[in-house]
Amino acid sequence: MDIFDFSDGREGYYGEYGGVFLPEILHATIEELLECFRECKADPKFWQEYVTLLQNYSGRPTPLTHLENLSRELGGAQIYAKRDDLNHTGSHKVNNVMGQGLITQRLGKKRVIAETGAGQHGFATATMAAKFGFDCKIYMGAVDVARQRPNVFWMENLGAEVIAVEDGQKTLKDAVNECMRDWVTNMADTHYILGTACGPHPFPEMVSWFQSIIGLEAREQIIKQAGRLPDRVFACVGGGSNAMGLFQGFIDEPNIELVGCEAGGEGVGSYMHSARLAYDDASVGVAQGYKTYFLQNDEGNMNETHSVAAGLDYIGVNPIFSHLHDTGRVRFEAATDAEVKETLKLTMRTEGLIPALESTHGFVVALKEAAKMRKDEIVLVNMSGRGDKDIFTIADALDDAKWKSFISGKADQYRAEKK
C-alpha cells in the first residue's frame, strides 16, 4: 500500500482528508515547493545526501534498545524502544528539519520560519538554520514562551529570533497561524519549516517522507536484534510525524498492529485533552491549510486543548492518520496526564531512560498492552525525544520540593545581583 500514490484519487488527499486550503497568494509558492519536493523524492542522490547529513551531524542511525527490565517486570511482550531521543537537539524533529533545510537550499531561499509548541521543533529549526546559514524566525505562543524558556534561550543563542504570539490561546495553533501570516508576506525568500505531518499538501507527505527514516532503520534493527518483525508498534501522536515515521517501516505488513497514542489529558469526557481520534470529541473540518479531524465546536471554531505534553497539545492531526483511522489500519488510544507521570517514573527507574513527556504517551499504551501479551510477542515503541528538556514541566508535574526551593534560591540570587 503506497499511501502517497495519488494516481487513483486527488493529489494530496488521503481518503477525504488533506488537500491544500491556503490563500491564493501562496498558490505559486506551494506549487514550487511541491515541484521541488517531487524532484527530491525522485532523486536517490537527494535521499543519500539527507541520510549522510543526519549520520554526520545528528547521530543517525539511532539505536534500538531492548527494554529487558520492563519486559521482565511486566511479564508480557518483549519491549523495544526506537531511540530518537539520541538525535542532535533531542528529538525526531531534527530529521524533518534537516530534510527541509536541504529543500530550502534547493529552493534558493535564505530565510526560514517555524512554529513551535514545546520548543523542540523550534530548537531543531534554529539549529538547522545556524548550520545552513539561514535567517530564522520562530513563532511560539506566548504561553509556551513563558513555560518553555529553556528552549527559547537556546533558540536565541543559536541565532534565531523568537516571537511570542499573543493571539488566540497563545499556543501552538496560534503560532501556526502566525507562520502563515509571515509566509504570505515573505514567501519570495522564505520557506516555512512546518514541524509535523500536518498542514497543506505536500507537507504531510514531505514530513512523513523525511521521518520515514525512523521506520526504515527500526525495521532493519528489530529484525537483526529480535530476529523478526514486531507484533505491535506504538508511537505518540501530536501532529503525527514521529508516528508516521515509524509506522512507514511496518505499514505494509498486515499482521503488524499500528497504534497511535494521543494525549488524553484529564481523560474522556473532560474536554481537557488533545485526543482527536482516540476519543469521540473531534469532527472533520478545515483549518490551518488542510482537512482533517479537529477538536472544534459545532460551528467550526476550535476548542481549547490540553496536555501535560506541549508537543501533543494541538487541535488537528495529520490527514493521513484521519484516513488510516477510518480504514482501521491504525488504532488510536489515549494516555492521560496521570498515566504519563507514572509511566515516566517507571521508565526512569527501570531502564534509565527519560522519554519526553510526548514520547511517554506511547510508552503508557505500549506498556499497558505489552503486559497482556505473550512473552514471545514483540512490541516496538518510539522514544521520539528525551525528557531532560522538560525539567520544568516534569519537576512541576512531580511536584518536586527540592527543585522548587532551588528555583527560589536562584531567583533570590538574581534579585541580590541586581541590587
Binding site: 486550503f21 493571539d167 488566540g168 497561524n177 501570516r181 460551528e299
Partner: protein, 256 residues
C-alpha cells in the same frame, strides 16, 4: 433578486469607483455593527462584507485577528451572523457578502451554507482559504442558488493561474493589492496598476482592489483602474479610535 455582477454594473453607471466595506460580525458588538453599517449606508457604500468570526483567522492581520477573537469570546454564533445579514440586507440598499473562512461553511454543510446565505439576503461570499481546486462543489451549489463566490487574484498569480481563476470567477474578482495579511498600508503604485491590468486580461467580471486601501489618495489612485475599492482595516481602526463621528468623517472623505 439582482446578482452581484449586475448590481455592480448598475451602480457603475453613476459612479466611477464603487466601495466595498467590511465589518466583523459581533465586534465590538452587534449594536456597534449596526451603527457602522448605518454610516456606511449613509455614505453610499455599495457592498459590505460581513466577516463571520473564526478561531483561526490565519489570513488576517492583527486588528482583524483581535476582532475575530473578541467576537467569539463574547459568544458570537453563526446564527447571529446570519441574523445580522438578514436585517442588514433588508434595511440597507448595499449588497451583502459573507466573508470568512471555509470551515464555517464546511461545518454546517456547503448546501446549508448556501441556502442560509441566500435566505439572509446575501449575494455572495469570500472565503480566502478556499482555493478553486477545493471549491468545485460549493461553487456549483452557489451557482444553482444564484449566489456568487468572490475569487481572489494576487500579485503572485502566474498568467496560467490567472486564467484558471478568471475562468472560475463570478460576480466580481477581489484583487489583492500586495503580499501579506490584511491591515498594513499598501504602496499604491505601478505594481497595483499592473496587477489590475493582468487581472483584466483574464476576467470580464468587475474588479475590486483590497488590502491596505486607507486614504483618499488610494481612492483617487484606483479610480479609472479598478471598479471598486475595498476598505477593510482602515475603517475598523477609525471606529476604534474615534467612533461613529470618526467613521462618518472617514467615509465622507474617502467617497468624496
Amino acid at each position: 433578486m439582482m446578482g452581484l455582477q449586475s448590481f455592480i454594473a448598475e451602480r457603475k453607471k453613476d459612479k466611477d469607483l464603487l466601495v466595498m466595506a467590511h465589518v466583523v460580525c459581533g465586534y465590538p458588538s452587534f449594536e456597534d455593527n449596526l451603527k457602522e453599517l448605518e454610516i456606511m449606508a449613509e455614505a453610499g457604500v455599495d457592498i459590505v462584507e460581513l466577516q463571520f468570526p473564526f478561531s483561526e483567522p490565519s489570513a488576517d492581520g492583527p486588528l482583524f485577528v483581535r476582532a475575530n477573537e473578541q467576537s467569539l469570546k463574547s459568544g458570537t454564533t453563526v446564527d447571529q451572523c446570519f441574523e445580522l445579514m438578514a436585517e442588514v440586507s433588508e434595511r440597507f440598499s448595499f449588497k451583502v457578502l459573507m466573508m470568512g473562512y471555509y470551515n464555517t461553511a464546511f461545518k454546517m454543510g456547503e448546501d446549508v451554507f448556501v441556502q442560509r446565505l441566500k435566505a439572509a439576503g446575501g449575494v455572495g461570499f469570500i472565503l480566502p482559504d478556499l482555493p478553486i481546486e477545493e471549491a468545485g462543489d460549493l461553487h456549483k451549489l452557489a451557482a444553482d442558488a444564484g449566489i456568487e463566490p468572490v475569487i481572489l487574484m494576487t500579485p503572485t498569480s502566474s498568467d496560467k493561474r490567472l486564467a484558471q481563476l478568471g475562468a472560475a470567477s463570478r460576480g466580481m474578482v477581489y484583487a489583492v493589492a500586495r503580499k501579506g495579511v490584511t491591515g498594513s498600508k499598501t504602496n499604491m503604485g505601478d505594481d497595483v496598476i499592473a496587477l489590475i491590468e493582468r487581472c483584466r486580461e483574464h476576467t470580464d467580471v468587475p474588479i475590486g482592489v483590497g488590502f491596505g486601501v486607507s486614504s483618499k489618495q488610494d481612492m483617487d489612485f484606483l479610480r479609472g483602474h479598478a471598479d471598486m475599492a475595498i476598505i477593510g482595516t482602515a475603517a475598523l481602526k477609525i471606529w476604534e479610535q474615534s467612533g461613529a463621528e470618526g467613521l462618518r468623517a472617514f467615509f465622507k472623505e474617502m467617497m468624496a
